[in-house]
């Protein structure tokens, strides 16, 4: 599968992805083989069903939300470029990237972009605010059924109160960044992609 994948991927395409996402050549080919193995329809794109076939995602409480995050708004297919673009959020920030002069465009794996990815998982209606209801939905997914609505509600209230600085009873993205400013997001939102 791996050899077939690398032959299907054109060199210039790899270069472009490399530039855009910062993945290395071998990482890209490795992920491409993963991509094609997920692509049961063999049409070069992944559908939601393709993602849902991953058994571990079925038990992940946020699985559906994360699958959705792979799809651009209004579309239900994602190609390899888009797939890589989403995965690039989770690339660890490397030393040489830190020291580099700020690039013209912010890299996908910057702290802000990592946070934005998480933020979008909550923000269903894309109004750049996490409302109480949106927060409650995610909380309900994460805690399961062991907890009563009242308890969950008070957690949500407390969460919003803590983060809400402008009193609109919801968490905006800037408030989201602020409330997580002490968290080592660079580490906690990164995974190690094999070289």
């Amino acid at each position: 599968m791996g050899s077939r994948a690398s032959t299907l991927l054109r060199e210039e395409e790899i270069e472009e992805i490399k530039k855009e996402t910062g993945f290395s050549h071998s990482q890209i080919t490795r992920l491409y083989s993963r991509f094609t193995s997920l692509d049961k329809g063999e049409n070069g794109t992944l559908s939601r069903e393709d993602f849902q076939r991953i058994p571990e995602l079925a038990i992940n409480p946020l699985g559906d939300r994360i699958i959705n995050a792979f799809f651009p708004e209004g579309e239900d297919q994602v190609n390899f470029r888009g797939f890589m673009r989403t995965l690039a959020h989770f690339r660890p920030i490397e030393d040489n990237e830190k020291n580099k002069n700020p690039p013209t465009s912010e890299p996908l794996n910057s702290r802000t972009n990592k946070l934005l990815f998480a933020f979008r998982l909550y923000d269903l209606d894309r109004d750049d605010k996490i409302s109480r209801d949106e927060l409650l939905q995610v909380l309900r997914m994460m805690v399961g059924v062991n907890i009563s609505d009242e308890q969950l509600g008070s957690i949500a209230d407390r969460t919003i109160q803590e983060a809400d600085t402008n009193g609109d009873n919801s968490i905006s993205f800037s408030e989201f960044i602020k409330v997580l400013e002490k968290v080592d997001v660079e580490q906690k939102m990164s995974i190690r992609f094999l070289h």
């Binding site: 995602l57 998480a118 407390r158």
Partner: protein
């Protein structure tokens, strides 16, 4: 400890504590004047001998001989009887006092680590002992150290190990612990041997390769005790700390195996070692480390399982923790596995389940006891290290050996760290940078483990033992004192990221959980079976099997997030108190910043937002027979919210098996929780009412005097019923002013939610009240439905519907309790306030409740109330006060308007009416209607 202290004879005691014992005691006990020196000389003669039970006995008989010689004595000298525990206790005392002394000077302790000071103190004490006895009689006994002192420290470290951080960095920790320690041991050993061959080390050091390898093995391990002691004061970031500290714990297996293997090699002689023995060594390493870990995990499971069933024996819960963690250590020692590994993993493994199972009190007990023990063990270790150093018999100094060892351990540590880090960084998500590596190299402290191991060496087998002991002492002192002293400035100079020592907020708790799920999902999508993949697998396993087995059913059903939420709430509460707030005293509670006003919109909001469909309208409850009944209920609710605390006095309870949560305490906790809840939301809505709050703040206290008499207006010119009502209200507010805030929860919410009820209920109240005296002997037919008529166990029908929904789930139990407890109160304890005579006069004959609850009573019992209050002479100037009251009320109701979340759809009762009729005024106090009256009600306590 016995080993050590039986070797510590009376003589030493008289030497080391001259002022306390040898001077005053003979004076106190004349009969022992000559006994003491006698013992002293006898013991100092055998002081350098190993422990000699026979000699001990001799002393004892000698003793007895002395004091039984002179017939019966009033006071007897029983030193031999108490010696062991006495010396232990005195040593502990010395260590503890030393700690106090060090912390007198803040500036000093900031610069000098405690461990340095303790070693210096030990040196001084050792010098004193030496001067007194000419022989050193105290030293750090390996048995004492390994069986008692080390476990307390490791147990504490393991149990409170931040497990997530530990497992996040497990790969690095294990690499440093195993590879690093092996590297250090071999390199140090070989290089020392090379130095010996080169002649740098003196010929008097009779050691060959095996001896040096053995020495290298024991000197190369980073010591957990020293690392904790030093790093705790340095506050480097947690990742750095966990790596160094985890290494120091996990390298025990390597040290133990190397040490044992080399000892056996030394015993059989290097020439007889066969190739197979090396493989045995490797196998032994696997057995020792894996076996130790397994023993620890087995004990962790046992511990978790046991604490599942300790509900009825809460008082000994902490004991299980200590015993099983300690048994894990001892069991591993029993099978000569790695005891430190065993204990560490027992602690790490059991922590989650134990903490969830045991009660809050037990948790605190475990925490403090462990910290106390670990702290004192650490103190003793360092003092004894100091004392052990002052011993001429042990010292065999060789400059070459000492300096070579110092250089080698430092160089190889640094090389090892750099090499391993280079390797590890290829795989690590967060690479360890150069600064981290410097701190890790510099933080490779050696300590008491090395010392205890070197003392354990057999002098006959290892000829150079004395040299090794001296070198070890120097190395330990150098690392703990010099490196310990300089690591702080170094960390500052290198600008190592420091630990922030902050506790996670609820946002962080939630979002980090979300992050974990996200990363797991991304790993699954990317087809990587990485760390998060396995962590998630483990969590699934834990949730599906382990937690089911090890957690109580009630706990298992709780959500971790909810637990975290509660923990955060409690922490907030504590920090509020720490900042000078006192949630449980009246003074603080009646501060405007958290008056009960906050509660009305808050609770309403809470309900509305939750959409819980609570029936907030009392009239919806069918079996309330009328307005009268309803008013009674309201009164009852009001008192319910208000009355409970002062009626219960703290009752000293003694039970060997239980520490019952005192009623008082339970109430306090409930009140506390409610207050905190309110305070949190008060902060949230405060901006809406900031202005008016500030206004009232001033008036609250100014009006104190005037209010008293104003309140009493009604006594003067109204009939008995009204007086009784007034008393009722007064009593409630007066006796329990700090509970004022709680009032709101039950029925003020109802009022605010259903403002339409107001106009109906107020006139009804008026009528009901006025008609009341005319039907004194016919209790309402619905009386049986009153809450206080219901059974103790079950909720009264009238309030159960709304009340249970209104109160947060975790408070329901407390709520039920307060309802049932109100019933059980026969008569309130006498209050110290001037009001108390009336109050008690009213409630005395009432039997199970304040008289004024039932409509039939007031008539017959108010006269004493009137007379007593009249005799207090507090009824002056009624007319004037009434006018003031009226004025203030109307202004207040205006001010309150913007504060209401929802403008009341029905107008409040006309002010003139209220002013004229104190009964309505009372009602407004009692039932907390919207707008101005609620303001009044909240101000009640301060006015009193």
């Amino acid at each position: 400890m016995v080993l050590l202290l039986s070797a510590a004879p009376a003589a030493a005691l008289s030497g080391s504590f001259p002022p306390g014992l040898s001077v005053t005691l003979p004076a106190l006990f004349p009969g022992t004047e000559y006994a003491l020196p006698g013992v002293a000389s006898a013991r100092s003669a055998v002081a350098d001998q190993p422990v000699d039970p026979g000699g001990e006995e001799e002393d004892a008989t000698e003793h007895h001989h002395h004091h039984h010689g002179g017939g019966y004595r009033m006071v007897q000298w029983e030193w031999s009887y108490v010696q062991t525990p006495y010396v232990i206790a005195v040593w502990l005392l010395v260590a503890s006092v030393a700690k106090i002394l060090f912390h007198f000077s803040q500036r000093f302790t900031k610069v000098v680590p405690e461990s340095c000071m303790l070693i210096l103190l030990g040196l001084v004490l050792g010098g004193v002992v030496l001067l007194a006895n000419e022989k050193q009689v105290y030293q750090l006994e390996p048995a004492l150290f390994f069986l008692f002192l080390l476990p307390t420290i490791v147990g504490d470290a393991g149990y409170f190990m931040p497990s997530r951080l530990f497992f996040d960095n497990l790969g690095a920790i294990m690499t440093y612990a195993v590879v690093g320690t092996l590297w250090n041991a071999f390199c140090t050993g070989f290089c020392l041997y090379a130095a010996k061959l080169l002649g740098v080390i003196d010929d008097s050091v009779q050691a060959d390769l095996m001896d040096f390898l053995l020495f290298g093995a024991l000197i190369s391990a980073v010591d957990p005790v020293a690392v904790i002691a030093v790093f705790e004061e340095v506050h480097v970031n947690e990742m750095l700390f966990i790596i160094v500290f985890g290494e120091s714990l996990l390298n025990d297996a390597v040290t133990v195996v190397l040490y044992k293997v080399y000892i056996s090699f030394v015993e059989v002689g290097p020439k007889n070692v066969q190739t197979a023995d090396y493989f045995k060594g490797v196998a032994s390493f696997l057995i020792v480390s894996v076996g130790g870990t397994m023993v620890g995990l087995v004990f962790a499971v046992i511990l978790g399982f046991i604490t599942r069933f300790t509900k009825k024996v809460r008082i000994i819960e902490p004991l299980f923790v200590f015993l099983l963690v300690y048994l894990a250590y001892l069991t591993a020692e029993l099978f000569s596995l790695s005891a430190i590994l065993s204990m560490t993993f027992c602690g790490i493994g059991a922590n989650k389940y134990v903490e969830a199972n045991i009660s809050q009190k037990s948790r605190t007990t475990v925490k403090y006891t462990m910290k106390t023990l670990a702290s004192i063990a650490e103190t003793i270790i360092f003092i004894f290290l100091g004392i052990s150093a002052v011993d001429k018999s042990k010292w065999a100094w060789d400059t070459g050996l000492v300096s070579c060892t110092l250089v080698f351990i430092f160089v190889f540590r640094a090389m090892g760290v750099v090499g391993q880090t280079w390797f590890l960084n290829r795989f690590r998500l967060v690479p360890l940078d150069k600064i981290d590596q410097v701190v890790m190299s510099y933080g490779g402290l050696r300590g008491a483990v090395a010392f205890a191991l070197v003392v354990l060496l057999d002098g006959d087998q290892v000829k150079a033992k004395d040299y090794f002991v001296a070198t070890t002492i120097v190395v330990v002192f150098f690392t703990v004192m010099f490196q310990g002293l300089t690591i702080k400035p170094l960390v500052k100079w290198l600008k190592v990221p420091q630990s922030t020592n902050k506790k996670p907020t609820i946002n962080e708790e939630i979002h980090e959980r979300a992050f974990d799920h996200i990363l797991t999902a991304v790993e699954d999508i990317a087809g990587l079976q990485g760390y998060h993949h396995w962590r998630d697998k483990w969590e699934q396993f834990d949730k599906n099997y382990l937690s089911k087995l090890l957690l109580r059913k009630s706990v298992y059903r709780k959500s971790e997030l909810w637990e975290a939420y509660q923990k955060i709430n409690i922490r907030d509460a504590i920090s509020v108190i720490d900042q000078g707030g006192n949630v449980l005293t009246s003074a603080q509670l009646s501060l405007p910043s958290m008056t009960s006003r906050a509660s009305f919109p808050d609770i309403t909001n809470y309900l509305r937002e939750n959409g819980s469909g609570v029936c907030l309208d009392l009239q919806m409850i069918d079996n309330v027979p009328g307005a009268k009944m309803k008013e009674d209920l309201e009164t009852h609710h009001f008192l319910l919210g208000n009355l409970y605390k002062p009626r219960r006095r703290y009752q000293p309870h003694y039970s060997r098996h239980f520490m019952p949560v005192g009623e008082q305490e339970r109430q306090d906790r409930e009140v506390f929780q409610r207050n905190m809840k309110r305070r949190m939301s008060a902060r949230y809505i405060r901006h809406k009412r900031e202005r008016s709050l500030r206004k009232h703040k001033g008036s609250d206290f100014k009006d104190n005097e005037g209010d008293k008499s104003r309140r009493n207006v009604s006594f003067h010119d109204k009939d008995a019923v009204l007086v009784s009502m007034e008393l009722d209200g007064n009593k409630a507010e007066h006796s329990d002013s700090e509970k004022e805030v709680d009032v709101g929860i039950t029925f003020s919410a109802r009022k605010a939610e259903t403002p339409k009820q107001r106009p109906k209920s107020v006139p009804a109240a008026l009528e009901g009240d006025q008609s009341q005296p005319f039907h004194p002997l016919s209790p309402p037919c619905g009386d049986s439905h009153l809450p206080w008529k219901g059974g103790v166990g079950s909720l009264p029908p009238c309030i159960s519907v709304e009340a249970t929904k209104l109160i947060p789930v975790d408070l329901q139990e407390a709520w039920n309790q307060s309802i049932s407890s109100l019933e059980s109160i026969s008569s309130p304890p006498a209050l110290t306030e001037p009001m108390h005579r009336r109050v008690s006069a009213l409630s005395r004959p009432g039997g199970s409740r304040p008289v004024s609850y039932t409509p039939s009573r007031p008539v017959s019992y108010t006269p004493p109330g009137i007379s007593s209050s009249a005799s207090q002479g507090s009824f002056s100037f009624p007319e004037k006060k009434k006018k003031e009251l009226k004025k203030e009320k109307s202004s207040e109701s205006q001010e309150m308007q913007p504060l209401l979340l929802e403008p009341p759809s029905a107008p409040p009762p006309p002010p003139p009416d209220r002013g004229r009729n104190p009964c309505v005024y009372l009602r407004s106090l009692v039932t907390a209607p919207p707008a101005g009256s609620s303001e009044l009600s909240s101000r009640g306590p301060t006015q009193l």
